[in-house]
């Protein structure tokens, strides 16, 4: 059963934790910077639409690196690296990417 699930798709449990951690981490990263957050989401959406996985990952890691010593950001990095290894298919990439975006969108902005 375990093997089958990994072939067919990501466990919802994993998506849930990914989403939660991106919400927390990006809440800290974009504290009070709503416009910057929106710009990032816009970029991300365009990358996924054109299936540009390299640019997506590139920009994501760049941003995470800005606060690499934060515990929450660190957690997110770990999860992302684990998921990318475990579920490396185009279909799963889209799922993971959208989950991250939705996490960012749901992030509470300290500023407002």
């Amino acid at each position: 059963m375990e093997g089958e699930e990994i072939i067919y798709g990501i466990r919802i449990k994993d998506l849930d934790s990914l989403r939660y951690h991106s919400e927390v981490a990006f809440g800290k990263l974009f504290e009070g910077r709503e416009k910057a957050k929106q710009r990032l989401i816009y970029d991300f959406l365009n990358y996924i639409k054109t299936n540009d996985r390299g640019s997506f990952l590139n920009q994501l890691l760049k941003i995470l690196n800005a606060k690499a010593d934060d515990k929450d950001v660190n957690n997110l990095e770990k999860i992302i690296s684990r998921l990318y290894v475990e579920y490396d298919t185009p279909e799963n990439f889209k799922k993971i990417a959208y989950t991250i975006i939705m996490g960012i969108m749901a992030a509470k902005m300290g500023g407002d």
Partner: protein
Amino acid sequence: MKQHSEANLEFTGNWFIDAGILGFVNLMEEVYGDTWNNANGVFLNILLNKFPSLSKNQINNLFTCAFWYKTIKDTVLRWVRKDNFKKKIIKNLAKIDSENLTKDIEKNISKKIAEWHCNKISTVVTKSTQEVYSLIIEFNRFLKEIMRESYLPYEKGLRKIYASNSNKKTIVENLDNVGFIAYDSFFTNLSFFNPSTNKYGKEGEVLKRFDAFLNNYFVRNDSFAPDLFDKSLSPFVYSVSHFNNQLYGKPQTLKNIERIFGINPVGYILSFPLAFVWIRGKYYMFYSPYLEFTYAVNKKLKFLIEGSQKNNEKKSIFEITWSAIIDKVNEYKAISSLENMYIVEYSGITNQQIQNVEYIGISKPQASLIIDDYIRDHLNKSIPTLKKDANKRTTWIWLLEEFVKSRSLMPHIINYIHGKISDDWKENEKNVGKYTLITSLAIDAEIKKMKSKVYEESVFDTTYFFTYKNVVSNVKTTISTMYSSQKTVQNIVKKYNKTKVTSPLLGYIKGRNKYGFVNLLLKYMIGRDCQYNEGKSLLVNYLFNNVLSNDLCWENYALPIVIGITYGGEKNGG
């Protein structure tokens, strides 16, 4: 004769016996309905009240009289309606307008039967068995006399016509040969309907056989058992010679049926064909395990069919049956009455073979959804489709019918929204309530989930039998989730942007492009002002839980968003 009491007239759970019980009720209603029914009440209730006070013998007498009265009456009318005058020939020979003549004779005979019925039938309860038999013989003789009177003036002419073929007999000659004017295609093989027994002057003999059948279950001399329940009692059953598995299972006997169900089965077996309603060349019976419900639906069915025939409507039998069921579901609310319902139909009997039998079942999850008022009300609607008929009018489909036939509702909803945002639909075609659409989508989604669960686990798993029990509450939760998301999206998407957004979103759903859908919607959302931040996160949650991580039926959850945008700002959205 028998020791057991038949005081309870209720269904046994076996559809075959139950159909007989329903037929028995119908027979009683037809024959004794007028005399018992003085307060315009429901006949079944009157019968159920009266039944326990009747002795076994009285019930048998009532049945005997009703059965023979009905069979003789029906056979006489069938004979009269036949082309007795050989229309074409007699018109040239004797210048008789045979059609009007036949109509006049039928009218006269019906009138005489009604008079006889009015005078004699009410006294049956107080009579002994022998007196009832004499009454039947009297009725038969009475009808023979009337028929002879009606046809004798034309006998000479008729004789001439038939002279060419000596095997054929005129109706008057037939009257002289036959005992009881009684024939039933359903029971051709029964000894007392057999032409070799049912001869002129042997009426007493016929009734003796009938008596032996009713009280001693004597069917025929057979090496296996005299009380065999086989093809001679119903074309639905195999004949004993076709019963190849005798080593493993014996053919059924009437005594056995009595032992299992605790009833005298003969009356019910003979009433079996009367449970069916004749519609456009086929016999139909609706069955559920409750007598009251089944009786009410079949009665309503008959009423609706007569109405639709009068108005020349071309409604499908399916639609008529379902309107009857829906009408009665409110009164007899019991989930178990809707479970295990089916429609039995057959188109006729040729050479003692039953033709085109069909059993249409209704599944449990669907039944449990229909019993719910809210869901039923919203599904009991028609919506326009993109198809046009020959007169270029839009064809409408009935959602409930599609649902009961286990078809997916989602394609219809997609088509409807497509039509709604296009320009070529008329206004009246665009005002289907969004609750109806969302309910359909929710039901569709839950059924898809349920099916996938069944396949995922195992068909023989116990969960299979329990999943359907939660289906109603699951559907309702889904409806409220979908409803709140469509409400949220109304606040986010501006009215003037409606068509600009809906068309591509609908396109993505049609193209099964989940990520395209999510992408467009998210892009649209981040550009808006922050006034509805809470709504936004609600919608993001919804998208994450029900669209993104849902591979099974994400379209069902995506459509309410499109519905929300399309209906946004409309006052009469409900």
